[in-house]
Symmetry: C2
C-alpha cells in the first residue's frame, strides 16, 4: 500500500467498471437546461450525487419524444447505473421506459411523471398547488380569472388546470372555458401574446393564473406595455418561483417549486434503489412529494381578511 501510494497509483476506472458492472455514473435527462427551474434540479442532483461518489451525465429532450428515446438509449448503452428522467411534453407512450426498467436499469421520474409507470418518483402536488394559487387570487378579490395553461397531454398541465377549476368551484365562481388559454411552448412570447388575447376576449378579467413564471412574465410585461394596472386592474399569479419573478415590476407572486430539493430527493431515491439492488434486497418504489408554498409579491393584491 505504501509503495502504491508512493507511486501515486490510481485504479483504472474502466477496469473497475468492467469487473464490477457498475460505472458510478448516473444519467439525468432534462427537458431544457436553460430553464431556471431545471438548472436548480441539476444543481441538486449533481451535489447529492457527488456526495456519494457518483458523477452525472446530462442530456436534454427539448420536449421531443424521439429525443427522449434516443437519449435514454445513449445512457443505457454507456452502462450508466441509473437514470433520472423528467418526461418530455410529447411523451404519451411509455414502453421505451418500461423496457429499460425491465432490463434492470433503475429509473426515477421527477417533476413530469406519469402514473402509467411503476417506479420511484419525486413530485409536487400540482393540483393542490394550483388550487392554492387560484384560491389566493380569489381571496385577494379576483372573480374573473383566466388560466394560461400548457399543452393538453402532460400530467402537470392537466393537474394545474384541474386545481384551478376546483378552486373556482369551491368558491362558487362559474367555470368559463373561454378563459382558458392554451400555449404550446410555455415561453415568454406565449405569455406575451396570450395577454393580448385575454384583453381582447375579456376586457373585464381581473386575474391571470399562468402555468409557469416564464409565461406569467410574458403576460406581465405585455399588460405593463398596454398600460394595465398590475395588480389594481389585473392580478397575476405565476408558478415555479423562477429567479426572474423576483425582478419583474411589479415583482411576481408565484408558487415556490423547490427544484434544488427535488433534485436531491430524486438522486436519493435512485441511490437507495442502487443500494438495494447491490445488496440483493427487494427494491422498494417510493413516491416522494415535495411541498410547495405561495410566495406573495406585488403582482397580486392584499388578501381580504
Amino acid at each position: 500500500m505504501e509503495l502504491a501510494s508512493s507511486l501515486n497509483y490510481k485504479p483504472n476506472a474502466f477496469a473497475q467498471s468492467l469487473r464490477n458492472q457498475e460505472s458510478k455514473i448516473i444519467g439525468l435527462i432534462i427537458p431544457k437546461i436553460v430553464h431556471h427551474f431545471f438548472s436548480n434540479i441539476i444543481d441538486g442532483v449533481i451535489n447529492s450525487a457527488s456526495e456519494q461518489g457518483y458523477l452525472v451525465i446530462i442530456l436534454q429532450t427539448e420536449e421531443s419524444y424521439e429525443k427522449e428515446k434516443k437519449q435514454l438509449q445513449l445512457l443505457v448503452d454507456k452502462n450508466i447505473d441509473g437514470i433520472l428522467l423528467s418526461l418530455s411534453d410529447m411523451t404519451v407512450q411509455y414502453d421505451h421506459i418500461k423496457e429499460i426498467i425491465n432490463q434492470g436499469t433503475p429509473i426515477v421520474l421527477y417533476d413530469k411523471i406519469t402514473k402509467s409507470i411503476d417506479c420511484s418518483k419525486v413530485i409536487i402536488d400540482d393540483k393542490k398547488a394550483a388550487f392554492n394559487a387560484t384560491e389566493y387570487l380569489i381571496k385577494t378579490g379576483c372573480r374573473k380569472i383566466a388560466h394560461v395553461r400548457g399543452p393538453l397531454k402532460p400530467q402537470t398541465t392537466i393537474d394545474r388546470f384541474t386545481g384551478y377549476k376546483l378552486a373556482l368551484e369551491t368558491y362558487n365562481i362559474p367555470f368559463d372555458n373561454s378563459l382558458i388559454y392554451l400555449t404550446e411552448n410555455l415561453s415568454f412570447e406565449d405569455g406575451y401574446h396570450a395577454a393580448e388575447k385575454i384583453l381582447e376576449d375579456h376586457p373585464d378579467v381581473d386575474g391571470v393564473f399562468a402555468f409557469t413564471d416564464l409565461v406569467a412574465t410574458g403576460v406581465l410585461v405585455r399588460l405593463n406595455e398596454l398600460g394595465i394596472g398590475i395588480p389594481d386592474q389585473i392580478s397575476i399569479m405565476g408558478f415555479s418561483n423562477w429567479f426572474l419573478s423576483k425582478i419583474t415590476s411589479p415583482s411576481l407572486t408565484t408558487v415556490d417549486q423547490p427544484g434544488y430539493n427535488m433534485g436531491r430527493k430524486a438522486f436519493k431515491l435512485l441511490y437507495n434503489e442502487l443500494h438495494q439492488i447491490k445488496n440483493g434486497e427487494p427494491v422498494r418504489q417510493e413516491i416522494v412529494e415535495v411541498s410547495t408554498k405561495i410566495i406573495p409579491r406585488n403582482s397580486t393584491k392584499q388578501v381580504i381578511q
Copy 2:
C-alpha cells in the same frame, strides 16, 4: 451481423473503454450552473458533443479553488477523454491544471481563462467589449459613470475594468477611483447594495456599467425603488445578455456574450485535439475569440449623433 442484430446485441461500453483507452465522455466544469450564461454554455457543449457521440459529465466549482482541484481529479480518475474548464474566481495558481495536461488529458479553457496555461481557449475580448459598452454610455451623454466590478483577481474582471478605464481616457473623462465599486459575489444583492452606495457617494452619477447582468439588475431594481429615473437620471449597462435583461423595467441595455456558441466552439477545440492525439498528429493549440455586440434596450438613452 444479422444474428447479432437479431439478438439485439449491444457492445459493452466498459470493455470498449478498457480496450480502447477512451470513454467517449468529456467533463465540463462550470462555476455555477444556475447562471443563465453558463446554462447556455452547457447547452452548446452537450449538443455539439452528442453530434460526435460524446457524453458530458458536469461539475461545478462554485468559485472555489479547492473544489476546482477536486472536480478535476474526479474527472481524471474516471478516465474521461478531455475537460472543458472555466476557472474559478479563486484560482490564481495553475499547477494542478498543467499537471493534468502534462499527463495527457487535454483541457480547453473557456470564458474564465488565464494566459499562464498553454492550451486551447475560447474567449471573448472582455477589454474591447467593456470599452464598447462604456463608449456607448458616453455616446448617449453619460459623463460620470460608475463601474460595479467583480473580484480583483480574475482576468475577466480586470479586462472589463481596463476596457472601462480606457474608454474614459479616450473620451477625455477623468478616471475617478471612487466610482469603482467592488463586489465579491456578482449577485443580484451585490448590485442592489452597490446602487445605494453609489447614490450616497455620488448623487450626480449619470451612468452605471455593471460587470454582469445580474448585478446590473440589482442596481436597476434598487434605483427604481428609490425613484431614480432610468435612463433619464441614470443609465445602466449590463454585460452578458442574460434572459432576465429582456424583462426588467426598463429593459436592460447589455453586451451579448454568446454562451451557446462558446460552448459549441469549446467542444470543437477539444474534439480536434482528441482527434489529433488519436491519429498521432501534433496537437495544435488554438485560441478562438467569439465576438460580442451591444444590445440596445431601454435602460440607456439614445446615442447622440
